[in-house]
Amino acid sequence: MDQVLDQDLVELSKAGDMTAFKEFVKRHEGKVAGVIYSILGQGAEAEDVGQEVFVKFYESLAKFKGESAPTTYLIRIAINQSLNEVKKRKRKNTLFTSIDQGKNVKMMDDEDIHNVIQFELNKLDPDFQSVVTLRLIEGYSTQETADILDIPLGTVLSRLSRAQKKLREVLIKYI
């Protein structure tokens, strides 16, 4: 199974081979988890969203024509599902807010700073949050980010620039 290409696993899955699909999930779980945890933080919903991502990918296999790499399409679904979950939390007012904003910066440990970053990331516009997640957190190149989000490279650079300016305004006291 290790030698089988992603494209071949996708074709086998389309034909109903669930073993092939399980192998595809195993191969790409890490990437999907990385994206989801970056946007949603730790929590039970993260795995629910993870499952949704792969279920949606499976359901759309019949329409998948192979114009992009399977992983590009998969990560695009992961970004969209995660941002949908953020919107839901905003509506329910349960956005990640467990930070002690009154705490002295010098008293903050790594976990506290990480919580602040997660909070500030979730406040970003979804368009900015997606480029920050893919480029800065997950380490995709700017071109890969553009391919996944299906936007021009210039737009990625512009959004990254604006997002980092916003983040600097709020995180400057922590650096």
């Binding site: 399980k22 999930v25 779980e29 990385g34 795995e47 499976y58 620039s161």
Partner: protein, 144 residues
Amino acid sequence: MAKKSIEDLLIESLDQSLNEQEKLQLDQTLTQDRDLRKQLNQYSKIRELVRRKRETSFGPFFGHRVVNRIQSLRMEIDHQIIFFFKKYQLAALGVLVALIAINAIFAEDLTVQSLFGVEENINGTINEADSISFDFYKDLNEQL
């Protein structure tokens, strides 16, 4: 294309996406501007903070759980389809029973033909003109 600000050049330099002219412009400005160098350092640190290592797994047997969910969804869809048609099956059965009951009420004699609404002649036999030939193959052969 609008001219980029020095701050934009600074940020984009971290993605190595500047052309030669832009790199030269930024280098010259950085050499002379200490605050700009400090700003570059801050952007680098923010990137490091944001890039903190995160969990990259949903726990053991995740693939198994995904496949189980897909199979449960399929079964649910199959049940919904069966249930959808079941309603119409029951309705059709109800209509058939009602028609048989109506025929039974208005029939002079209770025979199988009368229950199904087949017309009979005075002798209680079926009119040949009303009977339907089911010898399909005979008809087909005659046509060929």
